[in-house]
């Protein structure tokens, strides 16, 4: 057997010299990234995506760091501002296929306004939000997705807020695709991302992820395997669920699936005057 074969099948998508990643052992972000790269790999081999036109943009946070390992045009910009950066890039060069990757804090807290306006515009991009229920990079503060009552470093008496359901939020807008997967279902991440890559308009995928280091620590699941298997237990797949079914509740369960799928004209098409 040729030595050359003993190379990870995704290595060509990676800046392998920068590995290992900075992620903690067992961090779910890597699982998501790996799944996305398999999807992209398929698209590229099929010839339906030109790798030179792929642009990854991320904000600040653990999740955002993922793009730094990618062998593509990549931008690691301001906390919360990946979406407008990508919008500018795509408008200046509509050949670009922009993928925004970010944490739940990055995309839905500080970046929430850009999220809703990009979805409202049905802007030509794929946004993948890693929901790990916490501000991981900064050390375990409450995120908009943190479950009610959970201890975090900024809610020591327990989170007083009910979490934000980002799927429902984005689903209320003009996005062409809204789906949720989990790092416990990497094949679904792959499948959804694969589909999203070929669609037009705004495509949003929430990936529920393990963060044993921060969220895990807070809820007593510091061990990677334990956290993974606890998340796995909670995840329920539904075929084409409605937005009402989009429950994401650490106690009662997390529904994954494809909530919205449509084929409306994208922002750039509208700008060019192409209507339905």
């Amino acid at each position: 057997m040729a030595l050359a074969m003993h190379v990870h099948p995704l290595d060509k998508h990676l800046r392998v010299k920068r590995l290992p990643t900075i992620f903690c052992s067992g961090c779910g972000i890597g699982i998501a990234l790996s799944a996305m790269l398999r999807a992209l790999d398929k698209r590229i081999s099929e010839g339906s995506v030109n790798p030179n036109k792929v642009l990854w943009v991320s904000g600040i946070g653990c999740s955002g760091r993922a793009v730094l390992y990618l062998n593509y045009d990549v931008a690691h910009v301001l906390h919360g501002r990946a979406i407008p950066f990508a919008i500018g890039a795509v408008l200046a060069n509509p050949e670009l296929k922009a993928v925004v990757l970010g944490g739940d804090g990055d995309i839905a807290a500080i970046g929430g306004n850009h999220l809703i306006h990009a979805a409202k515009r049905n802007f030509d991009m794929v946004v993948v939000m890693i929901t790990n229920f916490i501000y991981a990079m900064t050390g375990g503060q409450v995120a908009p997705t943190t479950p009610y009552g959970v201890y975090t470093t900024t809610t020591p008496a327990g989170n007083p807020e009910y979490p934000l359901n980002v799927i429902k939020l984005v689903g209320a807008l003009n996005a062409n695709y809204v789906a949720r997967a989990s790092v416990t279902t990497p094949h679904l991440i792959e499948q959804y991302f694969y589909k999203a890559l070929a669609m037009r308009g705004f495509r949003f995928i929430e990936v529920v992820a393990t963060c044993p280091e921060m969220f895990g620590r807070h809820i007593g699941l510091r061990d990677s395997v334990e956290m993974f298997s606890e998340l796995k237990k909670r995840v329920v797949y539904r075929h084409r669920p409605s937005l009402e079914e989009a429950m994401i509740d650490w106690e009662k369960g997390i529904v994954i699936g494809e909530f919205v799928e449509r084929n409306n004209p994208s922002f750039i098409e509208l700008l060019r005057g192409v209507k339905k």
Binding site: M1, L3, M5, H6, H8, P9, L10, D11, L14, L19, P20, T21, F23, C24, S25, G26, C27, G28, I29, G30, I31, L33, S34, A35, R38, P186, H187, E190, S224, V225, F228, S229
Partner: protein, 81 residues
Amino acid sequence: MFSVGGVVSRSNNKFRVNVIVDRCKECGLCIFICPTKVLVRSGVMNRYGYYPPDPVFIDKCVGCKLCEYVCPDFAIFIEKV
């Protein structure tokens, strides 16, 4: 078992399991997820102080790639032989 360029590999007659030793962070997810319990935490520490998995029970490998898919660190992959 053989090891080339930091990759430890074992194969049965259908599949080869490869572990890129220095990428592994010993999270144990591959071991956990493997439906046929092929993988075992090895006793050899990698450059960063972690103990990567060793596909000790390689005969049982069914090539499902669950280990590859669950690995957050691009540290394990399966090839057909």
